[in-house]
């Protein structure tokens, strides 16, 4: 027992001394989160509506204010901007022009003729249509009020956890799953091949420490490190993005078994590919594409059909979806199914990895 505790104590010391480990375990997940968050989720600017109010009457002001009060749009006064040019150059997605006679027409006609506002939008921007429909809704409401009609149907919209999930909420469990995979697979394959190639295993195998004791100690260390790095990522996500995932038994088990799964994979590769660099590359060749096709960064449904097949056989898909269900959407039933899949693959890979691990040479 003291052999295992000694190895755990010193492997922690070693891990925290090497700054590269700190980067990969604690900084990299955050970088990945911010990077993908802003690349794919940072399109909030497309819900910005630029407007030019050429009327400037109380009527046009009220209209703009009611657009703003929907909360669905960000309004920006584009009075002195060449909005037409900006739209053509793709800098903005939509703009609205209120003509100079807007207020006058409404007031003078007394409801007989209608005043037009002009919407311009870029169809290639996915959110531009949504902006147009928001403007349409507001105009409808305005019409009703002006004509004094009774509202027969009102739609009370309520945000549900699933549909209202924004991209950062979606991304967080994906990043956690990627962190588990890359930490577990890379640390296990890296440590084993490195210690073997520089001869530390040769030395260890002459002591009473057995290879099984060593692997047990390293898997304990690795699991604690993975949990620590996830905790740091979660803490920062809650501070910076106000995301508050639930931490429960299912999510914890997913983390532990996911770590065992990818560590088992790393150990297995290290057992058969003896060269340090080749082994690291072999793990990279498999884990790198998995990062992208497993519904971690982009929802599986949004991928082409052939990649969706890949997602189905990628264990990372079940890990990230399990974490998403258990931590974000609260869909425990789905999470338990994912957990069961991870558990089965994890036990097989980890079992095979540890059973074939031996530092005694031929």
């Amino acid at each position: 027992m003291s052999r295992i505790t000694t190895d755990i104590k010193y492997s922690f010391k070693e891990t925290f001394r090497d700054r590269m480990n700190i980067f990969w375990m604690f900084i990299f997940p955050i970088v990945l989160f911010l990077l993908f968050g802003y690349i794919f989720g940072g399109q909030s600017d497309s819900t910005t509506l630029y407007y030019q109010d050429n009327d400037g009457s109380t009527m046009s002001n009220t209209f703009i204010q009611s657009l703003g009060s929907t909360g669905a749009l960000r309004l920006k006064d584009g009075s002195n901007m060449d909005l037409e040019k900006m739209l053509k150059e793709g800098k903005i997605a939509t703009y609205l022009i209120i003509p100079g006679n807007f207020g006058q027409i409404i007031q003078q006609s007394g409801g007989t003729s209608s005043a037009g506002v002009n919407m311009y939008y870029d169809k290639s921007k996915p959110t531009s249509m949504a902006v147009v429909s928001v403007v349409q809704q507001v105009a409808n409401g305005f019409n009703m009020k002006m004509s004094g009609a009774h509202e027969f149907i009102t739609v009370n919209s309520q945000e549900a956890a699933t549909s209202g999930m924004n991209y950062f909420d979606f991304l967080l469990p994906g990043i956690l799953a990627i962190t588990i995979m890359s930490s577990a697979a890379n640390m296990s394959v890296g440590t084993i091949t490195r210690l073997r190639s520089i001869g530390v295993f040769r030395k260890l195998s002459t002591t009473p420490l057995s290879s099984k004791e060593w692997i047990a100690s390293r898997i304990i260390t690795l699991t604690v490190l993975v949990i620590l790095s996830l905790a740091v990522a979660l803490f920062l996500a809650s501070l910076a993005f106000d995301i508050h995932p639930q931490i429960n038994v299912v999510s914890l088990l997913l983390v532990v078994l996911g770590t065992a799964l990818f560590a088992g994979f790393g150990i297995l590769v290290a057992n058969f590919v003896k060269n340090e660099e080749s082994a690291m590359n072999a793990v990279g060749v498999i884990t790198f594409p998995l990062m992208f096709v497993s519904g971690t960064l982009i929802p599986v449904e949004n991928m082409p059909w052939f990649l969706q097949y890949l997602a189905k056989i990628s264990p990372l898909t079940y890990l990230s979806e399990g974490l998403r269900s258990s931590m974000i959407t609260g869909n425990t039933g789905d999470a338990v199914t994912d957990l069961a899949i991870i558990a089965v693959i994890g036990i097989v890979l980890f079992g095979l990895g540890t059973a074939t691990f031996n530092w005694k040479e031929d």
Binding site: R3, T6, K203, S205, T207, P208, K360, D362
Partner: protein
């Protein structure tokens, strides 16, 4: 019964063979090592030294034969044997991001009983480097840490596999002194090396290995006397008539340019030498320099195999 107790052997290797597929790395070797001696395996790379020592360290499995260490069959008592031996493996390395102290302590904790770490650090003059990370040490210091770690369990037998390969002359001397120190502490030392001067300086007993077989054994002096081919008198830069006169009196001398090489027969080397010198003296012939070249283990190896050691 009597034989076992009287021999005082701490290691007994009988008919050891190691095969890798069809390749025979170690071919039917047997030897015994007595308590308290420094025993060296001398041979070029690929002779089978490291394979043999790694089998004895329980690092590799043997194909045929028996090895008894302190009376224990290593195949049946691996754990017991591991507790009683200390090992400095070839190309020794430990944890790069741990300090000297931490590395020694790590290995000390692997044994149920171990020596005080600070005592070991002092013994190998590592006190100043105690807090240095292993990766930042020079080659010689790394080897000294390796010897310290080989001693954490206060072993009766210490295996050192090529302990000075790749070290500069000063570092080699330091490691040699550390090894000599082991002997004074009563340890039995098993050493492998391809440096003949190392074997000569350190070893009480030398086995010469070639192609997986032991081709000669004995003390360094015995080996030199038996297989070295004797000493050679060398007379450098001699004049033409000096060469002519010498060749008349000592017909089996060798002339290399202006140098004369005379093999000194073991029984009457002195006589042969004074004969050559008196010729030069009597005729007032010109030779610039005289010296006797002693044979070394290198010559022993060359004579036995026709190959050079390194």
């Amino acid at each position: 019964m009597m034989v076992k107790n009287m021999t005082n052997n701490v290691i007994e290797v009988t008919s050891l063979m190691k095969k890798y597929g069809d390749f025979i790395a170690v071919n039917d070797i047997s030897f015994n090592i007595k308590k308290g001696e420094i025993f060296a395996f001398l041979g070029p790379n690929g002779a089978g030294k490291t394979t043999t020592v790694e089998i004895m360290e329980c690092l590799k499995n043997l194909t045929i034969g028996t090895i008894k260490i302190l009376g224990l069959d290593i195949r049946k008592n691996e754990m017991e044997v591991k507790k009683k031996i200390g090992v400095l493996p070839q190309d020794f390395n430990v944890f790069e991001w741990l300090t000297v102290f931490e590395n020694i302590d790590y290995f000390a904790q692997m044994y149920p009983a171990h020596v005080d770490v600070d005592t070991l650090i002092e013994m190998l003059s590592l006190t100043e480097k105690k807090g240095t990370l292993f990766k930042d040490l020079s080659g010689g210091l790394k080897q000294r840490v390796g010897i310290a770690i080989a001693l954490v369990n206060d072993p009766e037998i210490v295996f050192l596999d090529e302990p000075t390969t790749g070290l500069d002359p000063k570092a080699r001397r330091d490691v040699w002194n550390a090894i000599k120190e082991l002997k004074t502490r009563g340890k039995t030392v098993f050493l492998t090396t391809h440096y003949m001067d190392e074997a000569h300086f350190l070893a009480d007993q030398v086995n010469v290995l070639h192609n997986g077989r032991i081709i000669a054994e004995g003390t360094p002096e015995d080996l030199i006397n038996n297989h070295g081919g004797g000493n050679t008198l060398i007379m450098r830069k001699c004049s033409a008539n000096a060469k002519n006169e010498i060749i008349k009196v000592i017909p089996d001398c060798e002339i290399e340019g202006d140098d004369i090489l005379i093999k000194l027969p073991e029984e009457d080397g002195m006589k042969c030498m004074s004969k050559a010198l008196s010729i030069v003296n009597r005729n007032e012939l010109a030779c610039e320099e005289f010296y006797v070249k002693k044979t070394t283990l290198e010559d022993v190896f060359l004579n036995l195999t026709g190959d050079k050691l390194s």
